[in-house]
């Protein structure tokens, strides 16, 4: 009977840990990042890359692919901004802007979504009633944790993980639906001239 109890408790713990929300992780460079690897049905990398590019264009037009894409032809680099809101008594208010580099990389039957170089720009209200970045002031997410209250920092990180988690799930659905599978591959296949 004790064994049964132990198994049940272990089961409960494992389920509850699965239910935990996504969190930011620390990358190789010691900086905070969003990182998530997903499995997907095996597909041609070039076709998946084209689909990822089409996905950003359709759903996240403000996240722009960079001009210099990696030569390996298996990942997509982009840059974007995310508005972070403060909690207010009546409604939230634009509080900061998060700049980020987004990488969607494909390998065999899986892909990963990485958001790195997370930079926070505080916003201030200007004369026109609009919220614009304070010139010359920016903090890495690690620095920001020392600049703002814990509750504010938690609020920001929750918004960041929710945003990238949502993007990640949307991308998964997009990549795995039949319509997307028919997306045209990107032009000619890229090759690496370093390895020959």
């Amino acid at each position: 009977m004790k064994k049964l109890y132990t198994i049940l408790i272990a089961l409960l713990l494992s389920i509850s840990s699965y239910a935990q929300k996504n969190t930011l992780t620390t990358g190789d460079d010691g900086k905070l990042m969003y990182y998530h690897v997903s499995n997907m049905p095996a597909a041609d990398t070039s076709r998946s890359l084209a689909a990822a590019k089409a996905f950003l264009k359709k759903y996240y037009p403000d996240i722009k692919p960079t001009k210099d894409q990696p030569i390996n032809g298996s990942s997509l680099n982009a840059k974007g901004k995310l508005t972070l809101y403060s909690k207010g008594l009546i409604a939230g208010q634009e509080d900061g802007l998060l700049q980020f580099d987004l990488t969607i990389a494909f390998k065999e039957a899986k892909y990963r979504v990485m958001a790195t170089n997370l930079i926070y720009l505080p916003l201030q209200r200007n004369r026109f009633g609009l919220f614009t970045p304070v010139p010359g002031i920016s903090y890495t997410l690690e620095e920001l944790s020392k600049k703002v209250k814990d509750t504010q920092y938690e609020n920001y990180t929750r918004q960041i993980t929710t945003f990238f988690g949502y993007l990640d799930q949307q991308l998964f659905r997009y990549l795995t639906n039949t319509e997307t599978k028919q997306a045209k591959p990107l032009g000619t296949k890229r090759i690496s001239t370093k390895d020959w």
Partner: protein
């Protein structure tokens, strides 16, 4: 007992499983708050060192001496949905009413700071129409947007608001150009005759933290003002701002020119010190006075200000000394005219 316990554990695990599955649903992105509310409230005490009740230094706001007085309550609401935007901002109180614009005949108990709509025609081109805060100058009406509580001569004598239509083209984050057509007079909801004032602004940001705005506002009824406004956040703690302007009233009616420096140093995240040093000249031999500075005369004004933040509240103690040349626009305690005036202000501004 054991059966009940096992049953409850099994049910709990089923519930948790359901919850765990629920997290795989697509959760919404960070919520757009819909309407954004913003504003400020300000109040102050001013001591005129000459003991005068009437404003000795006649720049805008903070001009009720030896009194605990109010500025204004400023209430704004903003919404941007896709490419369309509106901003509405109303103020109630002396700072936002008769101290901002000539008290109009309709006897409004409020003043509109901003009431405009905007639309992003493309990623780079935006159009805005309505009654807007002026794009000219360093300081603004809302106290939450200024470091010093009292204002400069350049601010007081320049435009506060302009109603019109403007187009802004952003070549990049570092370069943009605005051109617009505005009502024939400044600070009016309605033109007296026509929409005939041209306005333009070139914004450049040569390096990170440095923005410069070259502004022009020119009309046959409102005169012509050329203005340079720039601020450079040189380090995390030190910022330098500069405002320089020259104004020519219509029909050779006089004008002014001046320059103001705004060095500011942040001692900590809660405390900052700043100095405003301004030189202002009524540049013609004839014409009207500007803030009691008569034609041909000039003034040097030094304002030493601290900003002490406590949550949304900012306490602003400041000491100001103005010294005029070639004229005696101020009044001593004995009622005799004098070249200099000084004052102390303690203001509290809550911004939200």
């Amino acid at each position: 007992m054991k059966k009940t316990f096992l049953l409850s554990v099994a049910l709990s695990s089923l519930l948790l499983t359901a919850k765990a599955q629920d997290t795989t649903k697509v959760t919404p992105v960070p919520a757009d708050p819909g309407l954004t509310f913003f504003g400020s409230v300000d109040t102050y005490y001013k001591l005129d060192f000459a003991g005068r009740k009437n404003a000795n230094i006649q720049t805008s706001f903070a001009n009720e001496a030896n009194s605990v007085s109010i500025g204004m309550i400023d209430l704004g609401v903003k919404k941007k949905y896709n490419k369309a935007l509106f901003v509405g901002e109303l103020s109630f109180g002396p700072r936002g009413q008769y101290q901002s614009i000539p008290n109009s005949a309709d006897g409004n108990s409020f003043h509109i700071q901003n009431l405009y709509v905007g639309y992003d025609l493309t990623d780079k081109l935006n159009v805005t129409a309505g009654y807007m805060a002026t794009f000219v100058g360093y300081e603004i009406i809302a106290p939450s947007g200024n470091f010093n509580y009292s204002t400069s001569y350049l601010f007081t004598n320049g435009p506060f608001q302009n109603a019109g239509l403007k187009f802004t083209y952003a070549f990049s984050d570092k370069l943009s150009l605005m051109a617009g057509i505005f009502n024939d007079n400044w600070n009016v909801y309605e033109s007296s005759k026509e929409v005939s004032t041209f306005g333009g602004q070139l914004m450049v940001s040569p390096v990170k933290g440095w923005n410069a705005y070259l502004n022009v506002l020119s009309g046959k009824m409102s005169g012509t003002e050329l203005d340079l406004t720039t601020a450079y956040q040189i380090t995390d703690k030190f910022k330098m701002g500069i405002n320089a302007a020259t104004y020519s009233a219509p029909n050779d009616g006089g004008g002014f020119s001046g320059v103001a420096l705004y060095p500011q140093y942040a001692i900590s995240s809660a405390v900052a010190l700043g100095l405003r040093g301004e030189y202002f000249k009524n540049k013609t031999a004839t014409g009207g006075s500007y803030s009691a500075i008569p034609p041909g005369s000039s003034v040097k004004a030094f304002t030493f200000t601290a900003n002490i933040k406590a949550g949304g509240l900012t306490f602003i103690p400041e000491v100001r000394l103005d010294n005029a040349s070639k004229s005696m626009p101020y009044v001593k305690s004995n009622g005799m005219p004098t070249k200099s005036a000084s004052q102390f202000v303690l203001a509290a501004v809550y911004a939200f």
